[in-house]
């Protein structure tokens, strides 16, 4: 009978058996690493219409986070401030700075606001409430990083579900006294007088599906 396949065809199946298992593992590992928000989202730092520096305002000038993001203790969102908040100071400070032109323009023309680009965005199907996390005394820095050192704000943490759950399962390392929530440099190591274990006993973060997917 005529030969249909060359002798080398015999190697196909052993070759497949050798390639398939590592190939499958590589595909899973690749998807796990490259498709996760830790790879895709961390470091996102969009350009803003005004080069507002958190390093200058929150860091060097020491303005409290809540001066601008004033709804954070009551609302689910930490509001981006209205132009009038900026103008509280900039009416008298740097009144002729060219980079502040969009701010002054927005103050005079309320129909033409400054269009900031959102940095931290959770999916619509995840319910998140800032006030709850404030009440549980989780520091801003836990999720947002050292914003007081950022000239341009970037996403520091993955904000993935697994990352949320890590703290919901064990909130203790991220808790602090209620008065120190916005203190970016505060750490538990520097403040041994704070009893994180006792505080953790008072907060009950949900771990069931409908805690966040309502």
């Amino acid at each position: 009978m005529a030969v249909i396949f060359p002798r080398a065809a015999n190697l196909l199946i052993p070759a497949l058996l050798v390639v398939a298992p590592p190939g499958g593992i590589a595909a899973v590992a690749g998807a796990w690493y490259y498709f996760s928000p830790e790879f895709t989202d961390v470091g996102y730092a969009p350009d803003q219409p005004v080069p507002y520096s958190h390093k200058l305002h929150a860091g060097e000038l020491g303005i409290d986070c809540r001066y601008c993001h004033n709804t954070v203790e009551q609302g689910h969102r930490a509001a981006v401030p209205p132009t009038s908040t900026c103008m509280n100071c900039h009416k008298v400070v740097k009144t002729d700075s060219p980079v502040l032109e969009p701010i002054r323009n927005a103050a005079e023309n309320p129909d033409d606001p400054v269009e900031w680009t959102r940095v931290h965005l959770l999916p619509d199907y995840a319910y998140f409430d800032h006030s709850v996390h404030m009440a549980a005394s989780v520091g801003c820095v836990s999720c947002h990083g050292r914003v007081d050192q950022m000239v341009t704000v970037h996403q520091e943490e993955p904000l993935s579900m697994g990352w949320c759950l890590k703290c919901h399962k064990n909130p203790e390392p991220n808790l602090r006294p209620a008065g120190a929530i916005t203190e970016m440099a505060w750490t538990q190591a520097d403040h041994p007088e704070f009893d994180a274990t006792a505080r953790a006993g008072e907060v009950t973060p949900p771990q069931h599906c409908s805690g966040c997917h309502r």
């Binding site: 249909i4 396949f5 015999n10 590992a29 998807a31 796990w32 993955p158 993935s160 579900m161 990352w163």
Partner: protein
């Protein structure tokens, strides 16, 4: 030495001292090969008609799937309180169908039931296609099918892991194992036949295609030895699956606390029903098939009669389970359980319940009469009733328990939508298309195994040493 010509009369004589022959019409080894290969080499016009019809139904399924995925599963009739409607009914129906193939190929093999060789190939193929149809329903039922991989235990950024305490997950594993083992078993059995088809091929394309799936089979002694060992091992692996898969499917219901579902009889009762429905479907396929493809001398009336006996047995077992459910509902003195069963038989779904009882328990009883077990058109009609009855069994179990549970304020009545009907009817198109393609390209009877049960293969056969005809 000429081959003795056996006829149906030899098979039906009923002489207990003589084993009835399994290949009729005086076929020798070569005759068997020619007969089975002819189905593939000379396609019948009616095959094209069957394929066209199946494809038409399949396109209905395709359209319905697009609608379900695009619009969401709200297009089905699944509403409070019945969130498991027809799609789950269809899933259980199809997965049950598959069991006959595994029983024939594995358990009958281990018990050395020689008559399995005429029907095992097509029954196993039917198993595979039924598993495909069955899996299509949970796949679209998840709604967001692009997230289907969440079923698998893969590392992910959500830290979500399958819930290993959920019977739905056991189902996922049971059915995937079942599908892959069945496919492997079926393929292993096909290898020598693919080699036969390769050697008979008249075009280079066929030689390459059959050659590739024949895996270099040359029929050497060592090949046969390895083949027999592999086949036996796979039969051993498949055997527990006959019992385990539908047991686990029944856990979807039995591990819940719903009256009418929460019963320990479910696993054996489901397995018996699955084998019952599977043999019904094998008969529905083989009775026309053996006629159209001229295989009545290989898939003989005796094969059919044996399957009728299994249908009679398993149908009666299912009937016993129905009775036992009622007995326990009364004996257990749980008012919710009693209500669930009285409601099944005499409540708003009494019509479905009595269709189920008639088709599954009463109608198969005619197989006590030999005349009915040996007349193909009667068997065909009864096999259709079996299929109908077993679909209704799942409908009754799922819908009656869900529509009337503990809380009367949430009781309801389930009505399917046109999409439900389209998906169910369309799934027969998927099944039919796959089966049509199978009979067109794969020897639908195992050429190899049929020869083994012929008297010519027996060293004690009077003409054994004189046999000249090759195969």
């Amino acid at each position: 030495m000429t081959t003795k010509v056996y006829t149906e009369a030899d098979q039906l004589r009923g002489d207990v001292h003589v084993r009835a022959p399994l290949v009729l019409g005086g076929l020798d080894f070569n005759g068997v090969t020619e007969k089975i290969a002819a189905v593939i080499e000379k396609p019948d016009k009616r095959w094209f008609a069957a394929l066209a019809f199946s494809l038409a139904l399949l396109s209905i399924y395709g359209v319905c799937i697009v609608i379900v995925v695009w619009e969401g599963i709200g297009v089905w009739g699944n509403r409070a309180p019945v969130y498991w409607g027809w799609p789950i009914v269809n899933f259980v129906f199809w997965i049950g169908i598959g069991h006959a193939g595994t029983l024939i190929s594995a358990i009958l093999f281990l018990f050395r039931q020689k008559w399995r060789t005429g029907i095992n190939r097509s029954a196993e193929a039917m198993t595979l296609f039924a598993v495909v149809c069955a899996l299509s329903f949970p796949t679209i039922h998840v709604g967001r099918i692009w997230l289907l991989y969440w079923f698998a235990p893969l590392p992910n950024q959500m830290d979500v892991w399958p819930n290993f305490r959920s019977p739905l997950l056991w189902d996922f594993f049971a059915v995937s194992v079942y599908g892959s083992v069945s496919a492997l078993f079926w393929f292993t059995g096909c290898v020598p036949d693919f080699a036969t088809m390769r050697d008979r091929a008249d075009t280079q394309l066929k030689r390459i295609a059959y050659g590739a799936v024949a895996l270099g089979w040359r029929g050497s002694n060592r090949h046969w030895h390895n083949y027999e060992v592999a086949y036996l091992i796979l039969a051993g692996i498949s055997t527990p699956l006959v019992l385990s898969v539908h047991s686990i499917v029944s856990f979807d219901f039995a591990t819940s606390q719903l009256p009418g579902w929460h019963t320990t009889i479910f696993p054996p009762y489901f397995v018996a029903g699955a084998i019952f429905s599977g043999f019904g479907m094998v008969m529905t396929l083989l009775i026309p098939s053996r006629k159209i493809f001229d295989l009545e001398e290989i898939i003989t009336i005796r094969h059919m009669e044996n399957m009728c006996k299994i249908i009679l047995l398993t149908g009666t077992m299912v009937g016993y389970a129905y009775g036992m459910e009622f007995f326990i509902a009364w004996y257990g003195q749980n008012p919710y359980e009693s209500f669930a069963f009285v409601n099944r038989a005499f409540g708003p779904y009494a019509w479905a319940y009595w269709i189920m009882i008639s088709c599954n328990v009463f109608i198969p009883q005619v197989f006590w009469i030999k005349k009915f077990r040996t007349t193909p058109w009667i068997m065909f009609i009864i096999s259709i009733f079996v299929n109908i009855g077993m679909w209704f069994e799942r409908f009754v179990i799922i819908v009656t328990s869900l529509t009337a549970d503990f809380l009367p304020s949430s009781w309801g009545y389930f009505s399917p939508t046109i999409i439900d009907v389209g998906c169910f009817v369309g799934s027969f198109g998927l099944f039919g298309t796959l089966y049509c393609l199978f009979v067109r390209f794969v020897p639908q009877v195992s050429i190899t195994e049929v020869k083994v049960v012929m008297e010519q293969a027996d060293p004690h056969w009077e003409g054994y040493h004189l046999a000249e005809e090759g195969h």
